[in-house]
């Protein structure tokens, strides 16, 4: 071992004594998430055309598009946060850019699943979509 | 050695066994062979460590076709030479290549448990991936695999407590 030396990391190690630890004090000190972070799904009902590609492509079946009335643009989106893998395929599949992933809502841990089930849409659309068997002829799409 | 030269070399090595070597892609050769010729062909391909066995892929052609196809992928540089062996579904067996390529043991174990193909003469026929209590005779990668057959039995083994 001709080139062997003892304590090759001395500079790093000794230097750290006077340095601030690299540990992030997460819950006490929050750093801002980068702008491209993939967090909670955000749906824009105004621009949505109800094509359902997002739900079709979702690898974890976290999204469900219920079309109440396509002509009147009455759509209901069901989102299961606990199934979502935050892959952003829905955003990539959407031709209208109606879906985005938030970089602000990412601290999503909770003790129960209660808050993880979202139904988005206008209140009467939701009521109609969730009513057992709509009678206006439109079948809810899976 | 360029890929063209490698293709010529692979054809030359496989010439004694088949002349049906086809170029499936610029960097890929297919060599359908009868099962008896698998071992000599593999030996010819790896001779002098010209290529190595990348993996063994089992495919189920379906109950209607009544056959499995086992693909042995040999890589040499950018070229992949696939030796394709078809075997009947009701009596699926291939000879082990472990005598030539010891590293094939894991691939053969996977083939055995996933497709139920008998690999004759493989050094270790134990299960590799599937749980110990996976039911015997249920092969998950077969096309007619019925998930309900795979009941999961959890036995309480006093020795393991």
């Amino acid at each position: 071992m001709s080139n062997a030396k003892l304590a090759t990391m001395f500079r790093d190690v000794f230097g750290s004594l006077g340095k601030k630890p690299a540990t992030e004090l997460y819950p006490f000190v929050r750093t801002e998430a980068p702008a491209h972070l993939r967090g909670h799904v955000v749906w824009n009902s105004e621009t949505c055309t109800g094509c359902g590609l997002c739900a079709k492509d979702c690898p974890s079946n976290a999204l469900e598009m219920i079309v109440v009335d396509r002509k009147a643009k009455r759509f209901v989106m069901r989102y299961r946060l606990d199934q979502c893998t935050f892959c952003a395929q829905c955003a990539a599949s959407c031709n209208q850019d109606s879906i985005a992933l938030s970089h602000e809502q990412w601290e999503l841990a909770a003790l129960t699943r209660d808050g993880y089930h979202f139904i988005w849409g206008k209140p009467d659309d939701i009521a109609e979509a969730l009513a057992p068997k709509s009678d206006n002829g439109d079948k809810p799409e899976a | 050695m360029s890929t063209e030269e490698r293709i010529a070399e692979a054809r030359a090595r496989l010439a004694p066994f088949t002349d049906a070597v086809e170029e499936a892609a610029p960097d890929r050769l297919n060599a359908p062979l009868p099962v008896e010729q698998l071992l000599p062909a593999a030996a010819a391909l790896i001779e002098g460590q010209w290529s190595y066995l990348t993996t063994i892929t089992g495919t189920d052609l379906g109950p209607e076709a009544g056959e499995f196809e086992v693909l042995y992928h040999f890589s040499s540089g950018a070229l992949v030479t696939t030796v394709r062996v078809r075997i009947p579904r009701d009596e699926p067996a291939v000879p082990s290549v472990c005598g030539l390529i010891p590293a094939a043991s894991f691939y053969e174990r996977e083939l055995m448990e996933m497709f139920g193909i008998v690999v004759e003469g493989t050094p270790n026929p134990d299960r590799l991936f599937l749980p110990d209590d996976w039911p015997v005779g249920v092969y998950p990668l077969r096309k007619d695999f019925d998930p309900s057959e795979a009941t999961v039995v959890i036995e309480k083994d006093p020795a393991n407590d």
């Binding site: 003892l6 304590a7 001395f10 790093d12 004594l17 630890p21 | -």
Partner: protein, 311 residues
Amino acid sequence: MNFFADVIQPILALLVFPGGLFVLALGLVYLWVNRKLVARLQNRIGPRWFQPVADVVRLFVKEEIIPEDANPALFVALPIVGLAGVLTASLYVPLFGMAAPFSYPGDLIVTVYLLSLLTLCIGLAGANSTGRFSLVGVTRTLTQMFSYEAPFLLALLSPAIIAQTWQISEIIAYADGRWLMFTHPISFVIAIIALMGKLEMPPFDAPEAETEIVAGAMTEYSGRGLALFKLGHGAELVIGVALVTALFMGGTANPLIWLAQTAVMLLVLSLVQVLMARLRIDQTVGLWWRYGSVLAIVQIVILIVWERIVA
């Protein structure tokens, strides 16, 4: 007969100060300092001050699981015996800058062997619990003990020879103000490194190498037994550091200086600990027998020759 001096004082010394509770508490503090220093040297934040205390409390509260094949009495008794050994050793070592409460000719040898009692108990405990990892750990613990024990004793022998006594208090009286670490540098270095071996600190942590044998001999210990071993380990750290400090760093001092001395010592231990990769057990043994013992003997020979020439 003075009742207080003859009865109460020894009992207090044994149970509260400087032995007993005080050593246990100080042991936990030193363990924390060690962990914190290691963490800071690795640019981490390290545990908060109460972490070792919390660990021990938690372990005491936990259910103790005794392996089926182990002898339950032995399983329970060994940690107690080991801890008792260490606490007894604390009575002969000057702690906190004060003279040791007990002293008699030859107490240095007794102290060193009382300290080894803990290692022996851990070894026996591991062998008793019959787990695979424990058994490998035991062979390693004992092998390591046989390798560092001789150099450690030889290293402590050099102050003893120069002071011409086996009694700690007398060696200290001789060492007072002389700082033997400068006149006996080889012994000092060997004593520190052997102490690390005794405490199973990296690079000598092969007996409890977590990536190989989980926790070595103590693998099967969970609740109270593990807590006692932990306490014993802390106390051993205090006593070992105090012993080396007293012998090589100018004898007894006032409590503040003693704290500073031991803190420096802990820093050195932590630095070495951080900078080294773990040695395999065969390498440990080789290191000690090939270099450690030989160097310690060389130091003693130098001392004796020096004595003869000076005398």
